[in-house]
Symmetry: C2
Subunit: 147 residues, 2 copies
């Protein structure tokens, strides 16, 4: 059966955002937030452009989705993000009570898993969706930066 | 010896910010960021007004201080905040590499201590500065809300 709006479909949209970040010289991480198969927020990392450590893709997507919904809780939403959220972003997602987090590549050094960040009890989390594509973008960025 | 710019001096400025939050119907938490005895950022919680879970006092103060300094790292800065930072804010402070965190009241449920959030290895943290004043503002807010 063909599923038009499966996790890979929305992760591709998040990867497109990560590509925009890469083109702009940012660490390539992208995110979208989805409600009932509809994308209500798109964002990519802007820490360099904004000179602001808080400008991760997820943080902007949370703010943008809340603006769209007119309320600060994202209970029925799913976040698709190309890299596993860090402590800050997972902490923000805790407050948002988001329904589900789907990430691509695992961040073995600073991801919320290895850091032991607490998510909201109602939040589901899965990883590994298009992880090679997400990791490849990050590797490309850091290899280029080292040269 | 009289110290004009001791921790209590700057915490009083953070408490003033918390009072602005209380007057506006927000959870009363305030913060200032200081470099060499100079306040470069002031902020208070705006989660209700902005409908945004990321609008904690600390997050806004970090963004504001980075704007002032023209760089995203806050290595030589001290954050004064009336309540112990949560996972999100501590996670943001981790990325900022802030020099020192001074907080007032301890958050025994959702503070970064009990949650086990990792701070940057160079960041010092102390709590309990004017904690009664900070806790009293929070108690006042939540008692009023319950009525």
């Amino acid at each position: 059966m063909v599923l038009p709006y499966d996790d890979a479909y929305f992760m591709k949209k998040a990867l497109q955002e990560a590509e925009y970040a890469l083109e702009a010289g940012e660490v390539p991480v992208g995110a979208v937030i989805v409600v009932q198969d509809r994308i209500i927020a798109r964002a990519h990392n802007l820490t360099e452009k904004l000179n602001d450590v808080t400008a991760h893709a997820e943080m902007q997507a949370i703010t943008s989705a809340a603006n769209f919904l007119g309320g600060k809780y994202l209970k029925n939403c799913t976040l698709y993000v190309t890299l596993e959220p860090c402590q800050m972003c997972a902490g923000a997602l805790y407050w948002s009570q988001i329904g589900k987090i789907v990430y691509g590549a695992t961040d073995v050094e600073r991801g919320c898993g290895v850091m032991g960040t607490t998510l909201h009890p109602k939040t589901k989390i899965i990883g590994g969706i298009l992880e090679n594509e997400a990791a490849s973008l990050l590797q490309h960025f850091f290899q280029k930066k080292r040269k």
